[in-house]
Symmetry: C2
Subunit: 452 residues, 2 copies
Amino acid sequence: MTDVDCCVIGGGFAGLTAALRLEQAGRSVALLEARDRLGGRTFTEVRTDGCWIDRGGAWIGPGQDRIRALMAEFGVGSYRQYTDGEAMMVVDGEQYRYTGTIPWTMSPWAAINLGAGFAELAYLCKSIPLEAPWDARKAEKWDRITVAQWLTRIRSKTAHDLLETAIAGSYTSAASEVSMLFALYQMASGGGPNFMFSVRGGAQDSRPVGGMGAIYGAMADQVGDSIHLSHPVHGIEQDESGVTVHAGASTLRAPRAIVAVPLAVAGQIRYEPMLPVDRSLLHQRVPSGSIIKTSVVYDEPFWRYDGLSGQSAAPGSPATVTIDACTDTARPGVLCVITEGPTARRIGRLDATERRTAIVRELVARFGNRAGSPVDYVEQDWSAERYSGGGMLSHLPTGVLTGFGRALREPCGRIHWAGTESSAVMCGWVDGAVRSGERAASEVLRHELAAV
Amino acid sequence: MTDVDCCVIGGGFAGLTAALRLEQAGRSVALLEARDRLGGRTFTEVRTDGCWIDRGGAWIGPGQDRIRALMAEFGVGSYRQYTDGEAMMVVDGEQYRYTGTIPWTMSPWAAINLGAGFAELAYLCKSIPLEAPWDARKAEKWDRITVAQWLTRIRSKTAHDLLETAIAGSYTSAASEVSMLFALYQMASGGGPNFMFSVRGGAQDSRPVGGMGAIYGAMADQVGDSIHLSHPVHGIEQDESGVTVHAGASTLRAPRAIVAVPLAVAGQIRYEPMLPVDRSLLHQRVPSGSIIKTSVVYDEPFWRYDGLSGQSAAPGSPATVTIDACTDTARPGVLCVITEGPTARRIGRLDATERRTAIVRELVARFGNRAGSPVDYVEQDWSAERYSGGGMLSHLPTGVLTGFGRALREPCGRIHWAGTESSAVMCGWVDGAVRSGERAASEVLRHELAAV
């Protein structure tokens, strides 16, 4: 490969955005992607009937201005997530239909507890300075407590289990694994728990027409020949004048590199010389979670005719969360089933047929017999994605944000860091990935100026 | 390299023991070690005057029968850690001399708090079944709490800080990073907190004559030509008949492999096919800590003449803990300074001269002016050891032991796991490493029998 101005490692939204912005600034780029596809933790499959399925990250919401800017740039439209009709909550085998965010119909006691929990989260989020969450007034206190420990204050068992499902589900790991400070920071980076957990007006508000692939595909078309698929990077050497990047038998030389892969995956690259201790140890401390995203395709979205939105939640069930995942034409009917954390690992051990049987059984119980006859069934287990290291969002365990947080985006010599986990705004969302790519690109450009 | 019966990856105590036991059972072995030395997280330097310095793990204690068995096998003797005279505690700039484990002279209130803390730890440790700590009656409760959170019950600030230094120091990471269940399990695996923190009769009771290197050197002599230094393994492929191990340009074929490296380092190897999800994700969840071990050499152990044992503790100081590290001849005088966790990372950022100045200043304050004129100064920063991934003991964050603990020693097809963190007895000590190597070797032999 020929020398370039910057080598970008990772072809998800962070890396593609960095490459795009650098090329738009007139720089030459090589983007090395380990897989044979782009998109990273997003992955859009377009079927022969034109229907698209987002097998990974799928939504955009208000305030996510940088992904919106990309969509405007490439003429990708959006449509609202379907929310008409009632959502469903399943607790102890009982189904409760409701509208809005809080399932009041279930039990006033549970609903009050749930509301109080959300309110406290919203209040606490306000105390977190996004650029430096380790400086929050009670940073130490919240960073020695897990989300599971915080949840013990919720007295109603039903509310506790629902909140646990909601929060831990967001991090795709058990609530006992996640630092409360990190959870507060991550929620705050999107504007708070209302944004995070809401569909309408929240993080699940809309979807791009054509799926996420319409956006990353358009970026890829523009970045074009600079992209090298199936090039897993295994080593990065730095010296006084630049970096040498090793990917299999290929070698690339550039003044600077942007590493735009999840932290657990960045830790598998060999850096020479070794990275500063804080960054080295950070790579051991930001695990990925587990998520199985199953798209169940029907002729039509029959649940809509029964007054259901398709949204359901059932803590502990193999089909923990469901949501309507139709395209903007609403044909065919696509129901997305999301299974996260320990439950994902549990059903991941079943064979594919058993898993499908378990999930379809749940869908029939919730949406009736028509749910039993899908025309297609697409399963994506992100734990088995070597180059995501798991899915979706990485989480920080206790003590890591206060102890190592400063290393999340601090460049190490000629190596710059991108990826949604390095973004202070919309950390964990696709929009955060875009922001991180733009920040890393501007860091590289700023260093060029300083060098002149 | 020629085919062997078993490929062992890692030349610390776990890997060397596995290789030794397999060869003693008549099997052919290749041991691949990434570094140009053996010993792993132990590392004995023998000086020209015959004095040895243990730059890593150094002690043995009662109950550590498997390392004792190795010593008997190779005729390595032991001598007691020097404990005559008084120990010293430094709190808020004040020095307190004391004897025994609890510094009663300091403040009765602090001492009572400290004693009560130890007593509770001892009580809790009894509830942990070593072979399956995830089955402890309150496993979930303790695994959602950090050591830092548990410590908030200690009312005396002095006692709190000392206990924090003692416990977090043991895991070489901040107390906020460590799961309380893991800490209880790890202490219980040695017999409880009294064993862990005691010198006489505890984990710091004795040292091998010649240092740890006398043991691993003797093992290496016997394993001999099977050892290949400077062979970092980057890939392990499994198929129906065996494993193919890749180390640089070398390739080795064997029916089975034993991976005997710290978990964070095991995660940097590429496994084909991917490991089961629980093991893959475990590799992202067991970080190493930070420790700088400094051996300060004097003509003679002058502190002994002042009635001091050389043992001191000063929470937050660059010289957090000191201990007499003389050989059995007591000449020259060696004082070992141990700095761990956040403090180690803080002083690790200083340049070497600043760090030495800071440490020697502390020694002078504690042991007098003679401490200011060392004849030699040997520093070992384990955070910079690429193939330890940090030091010394890895810790499990919250939620990991209950969620992923079963994967710690469960073989993955033809790959077996060793390393002290995989041992249910003496987990975290050199003796645990020896036990894990013997267990892994016997797993391999048992599979051979099953295959006949």
